[in-house]
Amino acid sequence: MDLMTILQILDSTVRLGTPLLLMCLAGLFSERAGVVDIGLEGKALAAAFFSAAFAYYSGSVWVGMLVGIVAAICFSLIHGVASITFRGNQLISGVALNFLASGLTVLVAQTWFAQGGRTPTLENARFSGIPLPGAEALRDVPVLGPIYAELISGHSILVYVAFLLVPLSWWVLYRTRFGLRLRAVGENPAAVDTAGISVVRLRFAAILIAGVLCGLAGSYLATGLQAGFTREMTAGRGYIALAALIFAKWRPWYCLSATMLFGLLQAVALRYQNIDLGAFVIPVQFMNALPYILTIVILAGFVGAAIPPRASGDPYVKER
């Protein structure tokens, strides 16, 4: 395995890890505020469809992205009304949203495009790779040159946005008043309420941020990673992002490393089919299942205890 192969795998790690990272950060904001969000998958799926559809209609990938974000926010609002306003079960609400997205996207896609539940292939209205300055000039520098040209340069803008969102999320959560309140509302909403701050408003703010992030993730999937929407294209990424969030112990920087690890697994599974180790062959199905198996291993607590925000999952009932 030479440097070029490693770089190619790492390159696809970044590309496959980006949607996971965006969804993981979405889950971070939501769960830090005390709202468990199983529906990341559904939001991203809805965003993927609507961004691809509107990118196709308008010819502009940006219009598509905006509509995708709006779609994800609509789903967030349903989740909010169900789980914050009406204090319903957050898990059940999330599950319902996932099915809603899964059915609705194909239903609408079939009605609009009649191509068996997918959008037409996007020719130009896609996020294309951005070559960073000097990438070609530095390519011939040994080791560092290819790393810069292959791995760091040439991704679409959303990849860079996603990576910048990690320090930004850290700053918002740990260095702003809003972030302090948001974390507090996930640990002890009654205390926040006593301080005269609206729990409901804070939680809605958190899930709206989650909606925007899922919108970006979906839009990246359909108009960046691939050229159009296909049915069930999120393929369980929302759940992997949730697992990554637990792995990351609900912290922004760990979210980055956890999602990139899962991205690496997907990249390896994508590149190699059956891995022949001489003595025995690792079947491709095992590689495909590896992210899920690893999640189980991690959840089993072999890497230290992961303690969720204390009030996450509980609806807040104001005292009278």
Binding site: I92, F99, L100, G103, Q110, L242, I296, L299
Partner: protein
């Protein structure tokens, strides 16, 4: 007294939620340019007005009964088993191994054998998530979702690399031996000929499902174990104080739940396809969630809700055949039912409570 009468809780609220879900589904049908009323008439005609339609409706209902019971047994212990799909897949694998490798003399004994295998395989697939929840506190929702994906990969591997007959392209096992074929409704009610239930897949497994309903009712409301499961679901600390081990209840409830989901494999694999196919659970594991929520976790409610969803499934197939409405409409309806009966329950409950309160004060 700030409680509603029982009938309002058990009948009225699910009914209103269902009507809301139906209304939104009608809007969806209207929005894609079809007439909702015509669509509904077509569904009724295709699913309920012919015996073969009933044969399909009850076939689907059989799957949903098993998965609905599975979800509701776990719900009683306050566990959300979202892994019915994976447990059903592994249950089907158990049925296939049992039918392919054991020379059964007659279908009655084969049915007994495959029941044991299906329940055992399904229960084992639920054991690891159950253990992780009980011993390590790993969230059962996440682990069971992961096990769904792992089950799908495992089935794919077993079919492609081991069970597929030599030379076959399709990832499916060989057809089961003649002696294991279960009699379908046509064999039972029309002696194998005649038009009654012709061409429809409902089979003797439906009666196994009915028996499962009865057994689950007995278990939950008439045994000590059922009482312990319900106590645990009502208040874990209270149950613990009464000397009920949370560890044991989580494991036992999930084993029963997984076993019930696994039983679905008999209907699909031995009853219908008569071989093991890819995607043998057909999404029924997830519909189990909707069915359990609608049926208020009661076996009789689950039975009614399963027949309703069987009707929706068969009606949806008719719609996909005769109109431009794709099958995914069913997924949307299923999502709306879960949303309204599960998550938005209070949206219906709170105004109703107010109405009943006002009535009581006047009366």
């Amino acid at each position: 007294m700030d409680r509603m009468p029982v009938w309002a809780d058990v009948v009225l609220i699910p009914l209103i939620s269902l009507l809301l879900a139906a209304a939104l589904s009608a809007v969806a049908i209207w929005a894609i340019g079809e007439n909702p009323w015509d669509a509904f008439a077509l569904m009724v005609d295709g699913a309920l007005m012919r015996s073969s339609g009933w044969g399909y409706t009850l076939y689907y209902a059989t799957n949903f009964i098993f998965c609905g019971l599975a979800v509701s047994v776990a719900f009683h212990a306050k566990l959300f088993n979202i892994g019915g799909e994976g447990q059903a897949v592994i249950g089907s694998l158990g049925v296939a191994l049992c039918c392919l490798y054991i020379p059964w003399p007659h279908w009655t004994i084969a049915l007994l054998g495959s029941t044991v295998f299906a329940a055992l395989f399904g229960a084992l697939w639920a054991l690891i998530p159950a253990y992780l929840q009980a011993a390590r506190g790993s969230h059962i929702v996440i682990t069971t979702i992961m096990f769904n994906f792992i089950a799908a990969a495992l089935l794919n591997y077993v079919l492609v690399n081991h069970l597929r007959p030599v030379g076959a392209m399709e990832p499916a096992s060989a057809t089961f031996p003649e002696a294991t074929h279960l009699p379908n409704f046509r064999d039972i009610f029309a002696g194998g000929e005649g038009v009654l239930f012709r061409g429809s897949p409902a089979n003797v497994t439906f009666f196994v499902a009915l028996a499962a309903c009865l057994l689950v009712w007995l278990l939950i409301w008439r045994t000590k174990l059922g009482y312990e499961i319900r106590s645990q679901g009502y208040s874990e600390s209270g149950a613990k104080y009464a000397g009920i081990s949370p560890f044991r209840i989580i494991i036992v409830a999930m084993l029963i739940s997984g076993g019930l989901a696994g039983l679905m494999g008999i209907n699909v694999t031995q009853g219908e396809a008569e071989r093991l196919i890819l995607n043998s659970a057909e999404g029924a594991g997830f519909i189990g969630i909707a069915v359990a929520l609608m049926g208020r976790n009661h076996p009789f409610g689950v039975l009614l809700a399963s027949i309703l969803f069987g009707f929706l499934y068969q009606g949806g197939a008719e719609l996909a055949m005769w109109t431009s409405i794709p099958r995914e409409l069913i997924v949307v309806i299923q999502a709306l039912v879960i949303l309204f009966t599960g998550a938005l329950d209070n949206m219906v409950r709170w105004p109703l409570e107010r109405v009943f309160m006002a009535m009581r004060q006047e009366g």
